[in-house]
Symmetry: C2
Subunit: 156 residues, 2 copies
């Protein structure tokens, strides 16, 4: 996708739990097997939107299929990680207009554990692999805190 | 849309609270003013899917723009009625593939008060105006019961 990769194949973050899960989901949505021979770093690379990459992107554009698929994989990975941690079924719901504006919810039982507005989906990405991990861990912790606080609603 | 209307302009149900709200939302989504001179009954009529009308429809089809707009209006009207009853902001989230399969959620605070799978959206509708009112009242009552049961989650 980009000329030069910004993730190294030896980055220790590639071994962290959420990143492993995310790669699994990215590979799962790769219905044509294009990623088969790609390393994890190469598959994750398009999710990194550095300042330099952002500058190259148009300000306004429709997100392409790969970006939409990456967005889906990302929120699916979050939902599945939450599900594994709390033991209840967890599902993401993404509603995105073709212009790349929308909302994404993750629910556990009848509890909303994540609720985000999506803007400029064609620019979807994280400053670095570390930022991806930090932001995702924050969402996961908040979700877990919600489930712990309202266990009855999460169990419906 | 259909040759013959199945709702009468003098149907007393047209005066019920939810139906009035629904008409307001159907008119609100009518961005080209096509409904301006239409009676409420005529605007509601395409939401009635009698057995006879269903027989005329293809089994599998993509929902057209009017149907999608009607679906949106319907869930917006439900959300706004719930909002008015419970006093908290309420929002619907509809995620629908172009084949007419998807899911719709209504949340109040962090509480999911309605969660439905949408199938065959091109056949969206109710057997009669009475069925529309009965089914909607049921959803509204269930939502209200959820809010009463978990007021803290609804107030987040």
């Amino acid at each position: 996708m980009y000329d030069e990769m910004v993730i190294s194949d030896t980055d220790p973050l590639l071994e962290s739990e959420f990143i492993i899960e995310l790669v699994r989901h990215l590979r799962a949505l790769d219905s044509y097997g294009a990623y088969e021979k790609w390393s994890d770093a190469r598959i994750l690379d398009p999710l990194i939107m550095t300042r330099e990459r952002k500058k190259e992107m148009p300000l306004i554009a429709d997100p392409d299929d790969v970006t939409l698929s990456n967005i889906r994989a990302y929120y699916n990975a979050l939902a599945l990680t939450i599900e594994r941690e709390c033991g209840h079924l967890c599902s993401p719901l993404i509603s995105l207009s073709h212009e790349g504006f929308g909302r994404v919810l993750i629910t556990v039982g009848k509890l909303v554990v994540m609720d985000r507005v999506l803007r400029d989906a064609h620019l979807f990405g994280f400053r670095s692999l570390e930022a991806l991990k930090t932001e995702s861990d924050k969402i996961l912790n908040q979700a877990q805190a919600m489930v712990s606080r309202y266990p009855a609603v999460a169990a419906i």
